[in-house]
Amino acid sequence: MNKPLDTLKEMILLEMRVQRRNPIWMISIAAAALLGFSESFTAGVLDWPTTNQAFRAYQLGCVMIFGVMTFLLTAGALSRDLSDGRKDLILCRPINPWIYICGKYLGNILFVLCINILFMVSFLAIPLFYGQSSIYPLRPFLYVMFFSTLPTILYCGALAVFLMCLSRKVIVALPVFLVYFLGVALFRIPETLRGKALDVDMWDFSMRLYPHGISATVGASTLYDMSFSHLLQPPVPELYARAALYSALAPVLVAISVLLLKRMRNS
């Protein structure tokens, strides 16, 4: 029996069980649904598959909201343990810091992925509401999940673990994250004003993935709002690189967090 792996498995399962009752994911998914469904049902959905509006709505909700949700859930889970009143109870346990941090991190990542699958299924079924006999094809949605959503939540979760191990307070970690997150989003504004169409982080990457994946079978596609028409172009290599960077940065941040926890324990 491999005890560290058993402990890790139990930690992950427990974390997922604890998060089930966390209102943050319910609020987040409501926001994602509001953002996604409102757009998908109001415009362009009936023109599927030549109009990508439903898909764009899905990936917006998916990558943007799920990134924030992962951060909030993971940071909350660590803040419960590392706050001043509870820190000692955790640090005097015989659990290995690697298992503790990885259990917390993976538990939250898997939990968000489970919700993401439910979210995806709800979008796949949109054509059924319009009397069509088939659902959206799964592959483009899976592209988004593996190439865009997964790197985003891996990175946001790792960032939460790192910032919490560094500051031990959500009140410090959250503004830092929001500054980063808004910074990435708002980066586009001055460029757009200068007439440049610029990709915004992972969510635009996920948008580009879709037409690129689907054009071979259904031909050229459009967007209801053609001011985003650059997103119909195939993803540029820079975006693939960014996804790879996010995926690679996540384990590095987790490793640094483990070192921070060890340092906290051996103060």
Partner: protein, 304 residues
């Protein structure tokens, strides 16, 4: 008796010191041997009790001396020490949104209890032990102060720890809860070492056989409760005084109790000698002796 007990069966502190980077000497050459049973740790706020317990729980590294828990050094074998102890910190806080059994399940996993069946069965045992079996499905956030404390004790008992460390466990409990809790601690100490840190003397006097008094990071007394009380023999006086006399005495002596009676104010004070014919020597309590010790220690510190 100490000499006959092997080091591997006791908690042993030798020349234990800790100086914080700020320069504050929190512990200064503390030597204590703790065997099976309930051991009390008394001292005023800031005496070094919590520092001592944080060293024993591997949360702080001493800057001098050694601390061994059943033969294992708290610095070099921190992992082994952690697996042998249960700890209830002063301000125990847990996850209010979780049910009682879920809180314990979480701490069980952190303690390395990976067999789910065994863990759940142990959780039921400790919940029964602390009298919370019928509250297993109630959220911790809905517990009263006493129940919350008992949940704290339950998490400390999960692994059947050989050493239990309780920091101010009766703080915030009402008198009836305190008495129940003290008796419970007495039961727990039958087959393990329990260190009880508090500044409530009555708690120590009613359950501990041996105690140490810490003041300014140093051991002021180490021995049995009775021996501590005996130290103040002939130094505790009782008298009835009027308000003017009280004002005068208040500035000169440490007054340990004051009761407003029909004959005036009945005072109990500490003094080396009898200063007035009306003073009556009385049997010292543990509290009198403790205050005597702390006052003399403080006076000595000031003189130094």
């Amino acid at each position: 008796m100490n000499k006959r007990t092997p080091t591997t069966e006791k908690v042993s502190l030798e020349g234990l010191s800790l100086r914080y980077p700020s320069g504050v000497q929190a512990l200064d050459a503390v030597d204590i041997q703790i065997e099976s049973g309930l051991f009390g740790l008394l001292g005023p706020n800031g005496a070094g009790k919590t520092t001592l317990m944080r060293i024993l729980t591997t949360l702080l590294k001493p800057t001098g001396g050694t601390a061994k828990v059943f033969g294992h050094d708290v610095v070099r074998e921190a992992g082994r020490v952690r697996s042998m102890l249960g700890y209830l910190p002063q301000d125990f806080q847990t996850y209010g949104q979780l049910k009682a059994w879920e809180v314990l399940d979480y701490y069980g996993i952190l303690n390395g209890m990976t067999e789910r069946k065994q863990r759940r069965s142990r959780i039921e045992q400790v919940l029964s032990l602390v009298g919370l079996a019928d509250k297993r499905n109630q959220r911790a956030g809905q517990f009263s102060g006493g129940m919350y404390r008992r949940l704290g004790v339950a998490q400390a008992l999960l692994t059947d720890a050989k050493l239990l460390i309780f920091d101010e466990p009766t703080a915030g409990l009402d008198p009836a809860q305190r008495v129940r809790f003290r008796n419970f601690l007495g039961e727990l100490s039958r087959n393990r070492s329990v260190i009880l840190s508090t500044h409530i003397v009555a708690d120590i006097g009613s359950v501990c056989d041996k105690l140490a008094v810490l003041n300014h990071g140093r051991i002021g007394f180490l021995g049995k409760c009775r021996q501590l009380a005996d130290r103040a023999k002939g130094k505790v006086w009782q008298m009835c005084v009027d308000d003017a006399q009280y004002e005068q005495l208040r500035g000169e002596y440490a007054i340990t109790s004051m009761v407003d009676t029909d004959h005036g104010l009945q005072l109990r004070l500490l003094s080396e000698t009898k200063k007035d014919a009306g003073w009556q020597c009385v049997e010292p309590t543990l509290e009198d002796a403790y205050l005597w010790l702390i006052n003399s220690s403080d006076a000595h510190e000031q003189a130094a």
